[in-house]
Symmetry: C2
Subunit: 211 residues, 2 copies
DNA sequence: GTCAATTCGATAAATTTTTAACGATTTTGC
DNA sequence: GCAAAATCGTTAAAAATTTATCGAATTGAC
C-alpha cells in the first residue's frame, strides 16, 4: 500500500475490481497479479504495481492475493464504501440514463436529485425545477455536480454549481468549462472516445490486419 | 500535417474542434495556438503540436491559423466527414440515450439500428429483436458495435458481434471483453471516470485548497 | 529436507507524453 | 523600409508511464 497512484492506474482499478468480483462468484479464493494480467490482457508488472499500490496486506509469493481482501482494499481505495452525494443538471435522455443507472450506488455515488426546466419523475426519482438547484446544493452541502444540459447552457449551469459550493463537476457536454481554481472538472467526452475508436479502426483496416 | 498522432493528443482534438466552432460563431476568423491554449487552460506547445499534426496548411506566425481551414482539417482528421455506421446492442436507458444522441451525426457516426429483447421505438428509431442483429450487421457490413447490455450478457453479445464482422466495439459495460486479435475494444468506463473524479476531489479537500 | 516452479516486490531501462527553449517568419506601427 | 511584437515550428529536456530484469520468498512435488 502506497497511497499515491497515477491517474492512469486509478482508471484501471475499477476494472480489476469488476474482474475480481466475477472471479469470486466463480469460487476463486486466491488470485495472482499474473493471472489478472493474462485475463485482462495487461502487462504483468503493471498489474502487480497497481495492486501493490492499493493492497494493505500485499500478496504472497506463489499464491498471490486473497480475493476478498483485495476486493475490500480496492473498494476502500476507490471510496465505494463511503457514499458521496451528487446532483444532475439536465434531465434529457442522457441525464435520465445516469439518473437511472443503478451501478452508481455500488460506486459510492448517490444522485440525490436532478434538475431541469420541466419537472418530471424518472425511475421513481423526482426531477426538480432548475431554480431549486442552488438552494438544495447549499443546504445539503453537495460537492459533486453532473452536467448533462445542452452545450449552450453548460457554462451557466457550471457557474451556478460553483456558486453554491460544488467542488467537482462531471461534465458530459463537449464544451470546455471555466472554473475558479479549487474546482475540478472531469470531462466525459464521447466524441473523444469515438475519435480514438474510429482512428484505431481505420488503422487496423488500412494497415492490413484485416482485408 | 504529420499523419501520426498520440492517443492522448487524439482525445484532445474534439475539444479543439468544439472550441473553434464556438469561436467561429463569435466571428473569429484567425486564431493562434496561444489563444487556444490560454482559453482551454492547456500548455501552449502541446496545442501547437497537436494542431500542427492535423493542419494541412499550417499556421502563420503572428496571425495563427485560419479558423475555417483548421476546423475543416480537424473534422477531416477525425473522420467526421466520412460517416461510419454502427449498431447498438441493448436499448435500456443508456442505449436509448445513445440512440437519441443527436451529436453523433456530427461526429460521423450513424447508428442504424438498436437491438434488444423487447421491440420498441425510441426517438423515431426502431429497436429490433436481438436475433436479427447478426443478419443485419452482415448484410450491411457494419463495422462498429456499441454494447449497452447488462454485464452478464456483454461477452455473449460481443461474440455475436465479432462473428458477424464487427471490427470495433464500444463497450459501455464495466466488464472486460475477450476478442480475437484484429478486433478493437474501446472501454467507456463510467466507474473509472468517477473514481478519478472522487479521488481528486478528496485530494483537494484534504490537502487543503478548500477548508 | 531439497529442488523446481511460481509469484512477489523492487530497481532499472525503455517508451510515451508533456513542457521548455530557441531561432525563423510574418505582421504592425512608425 | 525597419524595428518590435507575436507566433510558428523544431529541437531538446523533463516528467510520467509502461515494460523488463532480478533476487527473495513461498508452495508443492519428490
Amino acid at each position: 500500500m502506497n497511497g499515491t497512484i497515477s491517474k492512469q492506474a486509478l482508471r484501471r482499478l475499477p476494472f480489476y475490481l469488476e474482474y475480481l468480483k466475477k472471479k469470486q462468484t466463480e469460487g476463486v479464493r486466491n488470485i495472482s497479479a499474473t493471472t489478472v494480467a493474462n485475463d485482462l490482457k495487461l502487462n504483468e508488472v503493471q498489474v502487480r504495481k497497481d495492486l501493490a499500490a492499493v493492497s494493505l496486506t500485499g500478496g504472497k509469493p506463489k499464491t498471490g492475493y486473497v480475493a476478498t481482501e483485495l476486493i475490500r482494499d480496492l473498494e476502500s481505495f476507490l471510496g465505494y464504501d463511503n457514499t458521496k452525494e451528487a446532483v444532475i443538471a439536465g434531465a434529457g435522455k442522457l441525464g435520465q440514463a445516469l439518473l437511472a443507472y443503478k451501478e452508481f450506488e455500488r460506486y459510492g455515488l448517490d444522485i440525490v436529485a436532478a434538475f431541469d426546466t420541466d419537472e418530471s419523475v424518472v425511475d421513481g426519482k423526482r426531477v426538480l425545477p432548475a431554480e431549486k438547484m442552488s438552494d438544495l446544493c447549499s443546504r445539503l452541502k453537495i460537492h459533486i455536480g453532473i452536467i448533462c444540459v445542452p452545450p449552450e447552457c453548460a457554462q451557466q449551469v457550471c457557474d451556478e454549481m460553483v456558486a453554491c459550493g460544488i467542488l467537482a463537476i462531471w461534465n458530459f457536454t463537449s464544451v470546455h468549462l471555466s472554473v475558479p481554481s479549487g474546482v475540478l472538472v472531469q470531462y466525459e467526452n464521447l466524441a473523444a472516445s469515438l475519435a480514438v475508436l474510429s482512428q484505431n479502426l481505420e488503422f487496423e483496416i488500412r494497415d492490413g490486419h484485416i482485408f
